[in-house]
């Protein structure tokens, strides 16, 4: 049995215009030592999926389907049990290290908090362990930094502290939601290297949420591409990024500026815009923006099918290679 198994997850949110499905038929598995990436644009449901896995969905959200974590069903878990899980067996790293840290507590105290809460360590033991963790995330002058305040640290250093907190109780699953989006590229690389090394060392499972295709290509074994609250394509990263069976995956790649393009090249764009939750169509969410869509696409959600290999799934009635990108002509 995998460590994490998400099946047919559906999250419905109340909106001003009635209930709207933020996630539909989301499913994936993740085992110890494995890495999975969720990729997509704002509003695609990747962060909502991460929140569902942490029991932090917005007020009034309704959850259907199943999230099984190490044999326990999470969708029906009482809040008290969630509190025993979060920060203990499931660690979290968020995008903005400044808002994730409490500005009124020292770094050492914030790292010690989960240790005292979940592990029952006394103050001295928790402080010693906090120092060990700061050294493990390679924060320079760790001993002096135990008593530092978050504002005294740079963005990269703060993110190291957040990672130290997430790792304090040796979680089985680490969820990192855009952990480096607020950081410079060179710092981004250091932080991602660190997360990768820690995941390998302690055989944690890593769920990495990002909108950055390059980060995904470098860092995770498998990816799930999300659009409109659904996983539209998933499989081993090299295969999904190499074959790009879903028209949305193809659109994402074509729209990306990359080094070496001629000056003045116009990027291929995806027509239309991301629909609002309440406006999601009954059929394939991408159909209104898709050149290949037919009436059958608009009628019902396409089922997940395999594309080439058994572990490469795509939800599209007309998957496969795109016509050559016509828009990529130098102006």
């Amino acid at each position: 049995m995998p460590l994490l198994q998400v099946t047919d997850l559906r999250v419905t949110l109340p909106t001003a215009r009635g209930p709207a499905a933020a996630l539909r038929e989301v499913g994936f598995t993740l085992d110890r030592g494995q890495t999975l990436g969720l990729i997509g644009e704002s509003g695609c449901g990747k962060s909502m999926t991460a929140l569902a896995l942490m029991g932090l969905l917005p007020e009034g959200a309704q959850v259907q389907g199943s999230i099984r974590f190490d044999g326990t069903e999470l969708t029906t878990l009482p809040e008290a049990d969630w509190c025993r899980l979060r920060g203990n067996r499931i660690g979290m790293v968020f995008q903005e290290p400044m808002t994730a840290l409490n500005p009124l507590h020292t770094v050492g105290r914030q790292i010690a908090e989960p240790l005292r809460l979940h592990r029952g360590l006394d103050a001295a033991a928790a402080r010693a362990e906090a120092l060990r963790l700061l050294e493990r995330v390679q924060l320079p002058q760790a001993r002096a930094r135990l008593d530092a305040w978050p504002h005294q640290l740079s963005g990269g250093q703060r993110q190291r502290v957040v990672i130290a907190i997430a790792l304090a109780c040796k979680p089985d699953l680490l969820i990192a939601d855009e952990p480096t989006t607020a950081l410079d590229v060179t710092i981004q690389r250091e932080v991602l290297d660190l997360i990768g090394a820690l995941v390998r060392e302690s055989r944690m499972a890593l769920l990495l949420v990002s909108h950055n295709l390059g980060v995904m290509a470098d860092r995770v074994e498998r990816v799930a591409v999300m659009y409109g609250g659904m996983v539209v394509e998933s499989g081993p990263t090299a295969r999904v990024f190499g074959e790009r069976a879903h028209p949305y995956t193809q659109g994402l790649f074509a729209a990306r500026p990359r080094l070496g393009l001629a000056r003045g090249t116009r990027l291929a764009t995806i027509a239309g815009r991301v629909p609002e939750l309440a406006d999601l169509p009954a059929g394939c969410p991408f159909a209104p923006r898709c050149a290949r869509a037919g009436d059958d696409c608009r009628a019902a959600l396409p089922a997940a099918g395999t594309a080439g290999a058994a572990d490469h799934e795509v939800r599209c009635l007309r998957p496969g290679a795109a016509a050559p990108a016509a828009a990529e002509v130098p102006a």
Partner: protein, 269 residues
């Protein structure tokens, strides 16, 4: 390139004073920018790359005459912006506009698109209502929005559309120079592509000149004719993007390039 440059920076420097650490000690200073010189010709784009704290935004603020340089001069069409009196500088501001990173923060949520886009006209040109409306409709059309969007509020638009509104506001005075400080960094990939295409179309059509600040090397490579690499307030390398990104000479430029995610295993186009 013949003729006088549209914009020239000569030995530009900026020091900021930090809070005093001890009562009787002199306040420490930080050199945010040091001895930066460059020229930018009309209709061209100059890219500025570097990490946070490298002085990119300080450079933008000096070029826009939002701050006085500690050293050096900024010349717009040969006129030293800091030698002008307040009225002359105000007149000059119509010829240079700025686009900011976050279209959620740079548009006033309580003002309609018409109010936002037409404000520079009212302030800088003293234009009447009818002319304001007409020019606002014209620039909205240029950025791919409609005149029917004029009475709407920012929350009715997506991130990409908001950045179009911010660009329309910058264009409305028909400026020669647009300083764009990370204009696409807050946008999703597919929206970013639309805004980059738009900025290039506007350059082709109206001959707009861009000072384009970004930490994203691929974006700068796409839209710029020349690139400056800033590190800790100093220009460490400059050149044509083809040369600079293919054969970087300075170790810092190389480090930036190597850190681009996906660089090790380039994803095929």
């Amino acid at each position: 390139m013949s003729g006088a440059p549209l914009l020239a920076a000569e030995g530009l420097g900026k020091r900021y004073r930090l809070p005093r650490e001890h009562l009787f000690a002199a306040a420490p200073e930080v050199q945010a920018l040091e001895d930066a010189s460059f020229t930018l010709h009309a209709g061209r784009s100059l890219g500025i790359v570097g990490e946070s704290g490298s002085g990119k935004s300080t450079l933008a603020r000096l070029v826009m005459a939002l701050e006085r340089p500690s050293a050096g001069r900024v010349l717009l069409e040969g006129r030293d912006l800091n030698a002008l009196d307040a009225a002359a500088l105000r007149a000059e501001r119509a010829r240079m506009q700025m686009v900011f990173q976050d279209p959620y923060g740079s548009l006033d949520p309580r003002r309609t698109v018409l109010q936002t886009v037409a404000e520079p006209l009212a302030v800088l040109h003293g234009a009447g209502r009818a002319e304001q409306r007409e020019r606002a409709a014209e620039v909205l059309d240029a950025v791919g929005l409609r005149a029917t969007d004029l009475p709407k509020y920012p929350h009715e638009f997506s991130g990409g559309q908001r950045q179009r509104i911010a660009i329309a506001r910058a264009l409305v005075t028909r400026p020669r120079l647009i300083v764009a400080d990370e204009p696409v960094s807050a946008l999703d990939v597919s929206v970013q592509a639309q805004v980059l295409n738009l900025m290039q179309d506007l350059q082709d059509r109206y001959g707009v000149t861009y000072l384009f600040i970004s930490h994203d090397l691929a974006v700068v490579d796409l839209v710029c004719d020349e690139v400056l690499v800033l590190q800790a307030g100093r220009i460490v390398e400059r050149g044509h993007p083809d040369r600079l990104f293919r054969a970087p000479e300075h170790p810092y430029t190389r480090r930036l390039l190597e850190a681009v995610p996906g660089a090790a295993r380039p994803l095929a186009g």
